[in-house]
Subunit: 132 residues, 2 copies
């Protein structure tokens, strides 16, 4: 998918996520945008829905947060599954794509005649810097 022009709200939310060094919750984004006129959660969630649809933002299900895609110029939908390593100390996220893992999972799903639509692969732990 090619990313359309972003609306004002979408741009604001995307900028906040791009500048952040760690994933942000929707409510944290809201707080960061109060000065630009944001007042309600829906303003954030609606922008996020679109950004997710465009593939420029990822949702981290295990921590109810959102990050900008680490591969801005590629198409996240085209390189298959995305995996995340999430540091529980510093919050940093490493994004990663692997065709081997993809294929293996897809083969299994196929053997079960399961039609995959969305996937979540998240590993929580400690990054190189934070691991004592």
């Amino acid at each position: 998918m090619t990313t359309p022009m972003l609306t004002k709200n979408q741009s604001l939310v995307f900028d906040v996520l791009t500048k952040a060094e760690a994933p942000l919750s929707a409510y944290t984004i809201l707080d960061k945008l109060r000065d630009q006129g944001f007042r309600a959660p829906l303003q954030v969630y609606r922008a996020l829905d679109k950004l997710l649809e465009y593939g420029v933002v990822h949702r981290l299900e295990s921590i109810n947060s959102f990050v900008a895609c680490a591969h801005p110029n590629e198409d996240c939908h085209s390189h298959g599954l995305v995996a995340f390593a999430i540091c529980e100390s510093c919050g940093q996220v490493i994004e990663f794509h692997d065709h081997e893992v993809d294929h293996r999972l897809m083969d299994w799903l196929k053997s079960q005649k399961f039609k995959a639509e969305k996937s979540t692969i998240e590993i929580r732990g400690h990054c190189a810097n934070c691991a004592a």
Copy 2:
């Protein structure tokens, strides 16, 4: 880990999950246990915490729900990562363990010097019965 004797509350919660045909949210479990004297969410969450710790229950992060482990006699901690295929129509969950996927992910994590602690692999879509 060997599973210790379950307390009354833990047994009640575990039974509900075992009998369920689909994952249940904590609040759904609460409602099903009101007749046995459950009154507050914490009663459910505390039991769930222990059952998760013992490895007899899994949490599905992407749908905020819980399922009994599909491999009651094995030790879920010993066979590494667990993956789930979750049907968005009927709610059915297929649980699955694959060493290939494990190793591939673990190798990558190692290359990043990332110390993994918890993992989430969840695929949402439609099962064989529900896929039109």
